[in-house]
């Protein structure tokens, strides 16, 4: 569909009506989840095979790539909409399933082998309506597929930020408009005063989704009031927290939502130039965002005189170059200027003097993405979701040792237990829950006794962790908490920009101590020294990287001191993770002598006669455990203690 530029809200409404009609047309539709995670599990092959085989088979069939609906554990996902029926979700689809799916579609039936859920109505969140796919009664086989409300992973979720992910083709601006896209920007720019918008955002209670949780409306207000003519709007898409990927999913699945949020923000604070700082490690996100920007320019949503309001605004993309510290606002702005990403002291906030020393309003992807919803549905509606101090929903990446991994969007205030057990389905392989790590390297590990705490900015901070950008890494009894603390310290030591000595040297010293503990060289005074260093780093660092660097150590010391003691006093790693404190042995009764481990071993430490039990040379073994993965007979055991008995 070729569309001419839009210069009034009325034109947009007209286009939206026709786009929606096309979107809901009673024609067969196949949606393939083609975000990075889907593609990595083979969605590309499924898509190619589908396109090849559908040639003219079903009248009016539309095959489209869509974003991630969050159920990453079910990838590759294929959804099928047949006219007059529910939308059926098929999981773990391979290209071999394609003919079956197409045949079933041709007969108007469900391909039962892979069906995991059904959606009865297409949601239009911005307009607060749902359009039923179904007309009349359900067919017998459709009724047998559980609706999303009954699928444990989706029940209890509320998709606001992810409203379009998995529903639209991210490369189609018409799809976005069909879903009510850009109507919030039109409303904001033509019906509202900038102050009114800021007031609306303030009333909504929206807080920054990138880590700090600063009230977005207040940030905008300060930026608007800051003196000077030039102001910048910046989107932080440098999603650096390991274990968090909702920003990637939002950009890959719904790039226009971020652009629309930025347009509204630019008008509210009086800015004409915007930047998106996006990680280079997300090539697909960069590609989809570039395309979306071009489309928005062509439609006139970016440029001069947007919606005839006289407001002009343009957005540029800058790619990050692999520095975690650039997620920090002042470092990010330094990087935008082409310099190294070193944070500066924030006696003067970036909203007053940021990029090129001009007032700069920086929000993260999920924050910008929430803005159009607030404008369209109203602050009151938004504020009705969530808790007293944390409004709306939050997307979490529920990953690690949990059964159902994926992106989970829930109202603030849901308990950790509900998220991990009800939605996530508990611990994988029947393991025991030990901790959940939230907030990335600045956050902490929360033990089982606090599982009934609600997810809320302030509650998580009280536990010594934080909301951060929404990573939720579940750990089980085979995760060593000392090793986890060491992992984060190693991360932060590498990513410290080196400007503040306490951060640069302090993290290195803390890492040395933790290395020692993990290697069985722990000493009695180590824990006190870790506490002392932590204090010094917190006090002596300019930015949040250093300011929160000790959190992973402090929370594990607080909640898992037993494990530290086992390492230091008994030279024992209870989780059997720390390499210096364990050894690997082959059970001769189970070993078949297949030699799979021999070729897998990087140190060539395993030997034996063909079809006879093999043995590990302990002097060569580096205890990487690759042999355990290579063994198909479960014959390699991990034992406590580094010495052979």
């Amino acid at each position: 569909m070729k569309t001419s530029p839009i210069s009034t809200p009325a034109q947009l409404a007209k286009l939206a009506a026709s786009a929606r009609k096309a979107f809901l047309a009673p024609k067969p539709k196949i949606l393939v989840g083609a975000a990075t995670c889907g593609l990595a599990t083979g969605a590309g092959r499924v898509l190619d095979a589908l396109r090849e085989q559908t040639n003219g088979k079903l009248d009016g069939l539309r095959v489209l790539e869509t974003g991630c609906i969050g159920a990453c554990f079910l990838e590759p996902l294929v959804d099928v909409v047949m006219p007059g029926q529910a939308r059926i979700t098929y999981a773990h689809v391979t290209s071999e399933d394609d003919p079956g799916i197409l045949d079933a579609m041709a007969e108007g039936k469900v391909y039962e082998k892979r069906a995991v859920g059904r959606i009865d109505a297409e949601p239009f969140l911005l307009d607060d309506v749902k359009k039923n796919y179904r007309r009349g009664k359900f067919a017998e086989d459709v009724r047998k597929v559980p609706s999303y409300e009954k699928v444990p992973f989706f029940a209890g979720q509320l998709h606001v930020a992810m409203r379009n992910c998995g529903y639209i083709d991210p490369s189609s601006i018409e799809d976005y408009i069909a879903k009510g896209g850009y109507s919030a920007a039109a409303k904001a720019l033509t019906e509202m005063e900038p102050e009114q918008i800021i007031e609306e955002i303030k009333t909504s209670g929206l807080r920054g989704r990138g880590g700090g949780g600063f009230p977005t409306g207040r940030k905008w207000e300060t930026a608007r009031k800051a003196p000077g003519d030039v102001r910048y709007v910046i989107c932080n898409a440098d999603e650096g927290d390991p274990g968090a990927y909702m920003d990637r999913a939002i950009i890959e699945g719904d790039p226009h939502s971020v652009i629309e949020g930025m347009i509204i923000g630019s008008y509210a604070i009086g800015s004409h130039e915007g930047y998106v700082y996006v990680r280079e490690e997300y090539p697909l996100a960069v590609k989809r965002l570039r395309l979306a920007l071009r489309q928005a320019e062509e439609m006139g949503f970016l440029g001069d005189n947007i919606f005839g309001s006289g407001h002009r605004f343009r957005i540029r993309i800058n790619r990050g170059a692999g520095a975690f510290v650039c997620g920090e606002s002042t470092a990010l702005m330094a990087s935008l200027e082409g310099r190294v990403g070193e944070p500066r002291a924030k006696y003067i906030h970036t909203v007053e003097s940021g990029l090129w020393a001009k007032p700069s309003c920086l929000n993260n992807v999920e924050t910008w993405n929430n803005v159009p919803v607030i404008i369209a549905r109203g602050a009151e509606w938004y504020a009705s979701i969530g808790t007293e101090g944390s409004k709306g929903t939050k997307v979490f990446s529920l990953v690690g040792k949990v059964n159902r991994v994926g992106l989970v969007e829930v109202p603030m205030g849901m308990t950790l237990r509900q998220v991990i057990e009800d939605i996530g389905g508990g611990i994988e392989n029947g393991g025991q829950f030990k901790a959940v790590q939230t907030g990335g390297p600045s956050g902490g590990c929360i033990p089982s006794e606090y599982l009934d705490s609600p997810v809320d900015f302030d509650e998580l901070t009280k536990l010594g962790s934080m909301m951060g950008s929404g990573g939720m890494i579940v750990m089980d009894d085979r995760t060593c908490m000392v090793d986890v603390a060491r992992y984060f310290l190693a991360f932060l030591k590498d990513e410290s920009c080196g400007k503040c000595v306490p951060c640069r040297e302090g993290t290195a010293r803390m890492l040395e101590i933790l290395d020692g503990i993990c290697e069985g060289r722990g000493r009695p005074g180590d824990i006190d020294l870790l506490h002392e260093l932590s204090e010094a780093i917190v006090d002596g660092s300019l930015c949040a990287l250093g300011g929160s660097a000790p959190n992973p150590v402090l929370t594990t010391l607080k909640y898992f001191s037993e494990e530290y003691r086992a390492h230091i006093e008994d030279r024992r790693c209870p989780a059997k993770v720390c390499r210096a404190l364990i050894r690997f042995a082959i059970d001769p009764d189970k070993c078949t002598g297949c030699a799979a481990c021999v070729s897998a071993c990087p140190e060539k430490a395993i030997s034996g006669e063909k079809k006879e039990p093999h043995a590990i040379d302990q002097t060569k073994c580096v205890k990487c455990g690759v042999c355990v993965d290579a063994c198909r007979f479960d014959a390699i055991e991990v034992k406590q203690g580094s010495e052979t008995e």
């Binding site: 990050g320 986890v484 984060f488 990087p602």
Partner: protein
């Protein structure tokens, strides 16, 4: 080299703020940042050489050493860590005889650790050039590497 650099420079405004994108584009073309190119970039963008060097060594994405044809990035995100990312480095050492940060003798692969690929549901994950592979184990890794070797 000169021609590549000219093309890269032509794509950006000749000002200091373009430094990072110029270096990114240059590295994409020639897989690393040759010294003479850095000197040229400094002159053309009007940035002191020291600052160019500062930027080129500060960011993880840049390499001053020639790299392999394919870059294997081992994800070291938290989810990958608890699911055994450490092991992948060992597996790669077994398969390629190259440790983290090294390039194979035949200049086919460069192995590096990266922060988080944002594919946590696929942990442990690696990325080869721009392709992501999840649930990596010894057998799978061998199959993947074979595919790249066969291609070239």
């Amino acid at each position: 080299m000169d021609e590549v650099l000219e093309n890269v420079l032509a794509r950006c405004a000749p000002e200091p703020s373009s430094l990072i994108s110029v270096l990114q584009d240059l590295q994409e073309e020639v897989y690393y940042l040759p010294r003479e190119a850095l000197d040229q970039v400094a002159r053309r963008l009007g940035v002191p050489r020291a600052q160019v060097y500062h930027v080129a060594t500060f960011y993880r994405a840049f390499s001053l050493e020639p790299r392999g044809l394919h870059t294997i990035s081992i994800c070291r995100g938290t989810a990958c860590h608890v699911k055994g990312a450490e092991k992948i480095a060992d597996m790669l050492r077994a398969e390629l005889d190259a440790s983290d940060g090294e390039t194979t003798a035949d200049r086919m692969f460069t192995v590096q650790s990266v922060r988080c690929l944002g594919c946590c549901s696929l942990a442990p994950a690696i990325m080869i050039d721009r392709e992501v592979y999840g649930g990596v184990n010894p057998q799978k890794l061998r199959r993947i590497l074979k595919r790249y070797r066969d291609e070239d």
